[in-house]
Symmetry: C2
Amino acid sequence: MSLVDKLKWRYATKKFDSTKKIAADKLQNILDAVQLAPSSLGLQHYRVLVIEDAGVREKLKAVAYGQSQITDASHLIVFAAETNINEEFGKKYIDNVAATRNAPREALAGFEGMVLGAINSRTPEQLLLWAQKQAYIGLGVLIAAASEQEVDNCPMEGFDPAGFDEVLGLKEKGLTATVIVTIGYRAEDDDLSKAAKVRRPADEFFIHI
Amino acid sequence: MSLVDKLKWRYATKKFDSTKKIAADKLQNILDAVQLAPSSLGLQHYRVLVIEDAGVREKLKAVAYGQSQITDASHLIVFAAETNINEEFGKKYIDNVAATRNAPREALAGFEGMVLGAINSRTPEQLLLWAQKQAYIGLGVLIAAASEQEVDNCPMEGFDPAGFDEVLGLKEKGLTATVIVTIGYRAEDDDLSKAAKVRRPADEFFIHI
């Protein structure tokens, strides 16, 4: 099956088979894809929590309208935006570029100026939105990668970010929960898996110029 | 090559080979994947412009800091968020659900209430941000799908949204340019294609619980 066929196969899984776990190599493959997702200037403005612990997931379910996917899926993934994107964050990134590419720090001065300019020109609110948008790119890549592996996935915005931050201690880590996705395997009796996929007709979605 | 290998192969292409065009079937495949990208409640809060016209792209380059990818890539894709997400938009979506699934409209009353509630509870600014975030999911899926086809891609935030809206007449269409991506084939002499990929180490990106 091509990626398009896999995306046709996928659906927003509401009922997971709680007995089925994602094999370690498949999970690693999905996470590798997310780590490779691009981001504005390459900053990777977010972190990714991979949550398996049953107790923690019970607490998170309570701040996610009791949705069963949170506890029944194989894993819960939380995309958490960085709340401290500042000069230090930018410089640390440039350090990483220099080390990875074995480049002298001075040769990166122009790029560093661009990165720090992009950070310093934004208000704290704009920085957060910027970070959150990048997290959604990661989510899109995760959905594609999981579906490619025939791992079911259900992206979710229906949760209380403050509640997640509290349970996961994200504030102290300079993070805030942005969007979540449960991954695992559909229950055989999830009727939604049989429902026709609803999409806008191509001519109401694409504009060709 | 697996999707992960393809994502390792990809990079933010700064210099495209302007003589190479994406074959029609490959382009369709990429667009099909974007159309299948999930969105909050399934609303597909954005449209996707597929721009090949050279004259239009010249005008857009002028409001995108003169970046050559805009004109040299095979195609320019513009994700444009809907600016009129309102009751009518929500009801039209429910009409589509009913038609696609051959379901009586009344059976969807609960879901319709949820959709309209999600729309009506948001301020216009929140509605726009909501729409824009969904567009970034589409972008993530596009990046995965293009890379899978070995089509180079360069997502870009460095452009003037108001300028794009003006050139493309988006305001009149109830849309606003949100994020763009150029797709095509790397020029042989784009040195960046040889640069090592920079990513945060796994232990500074993932948190396992």
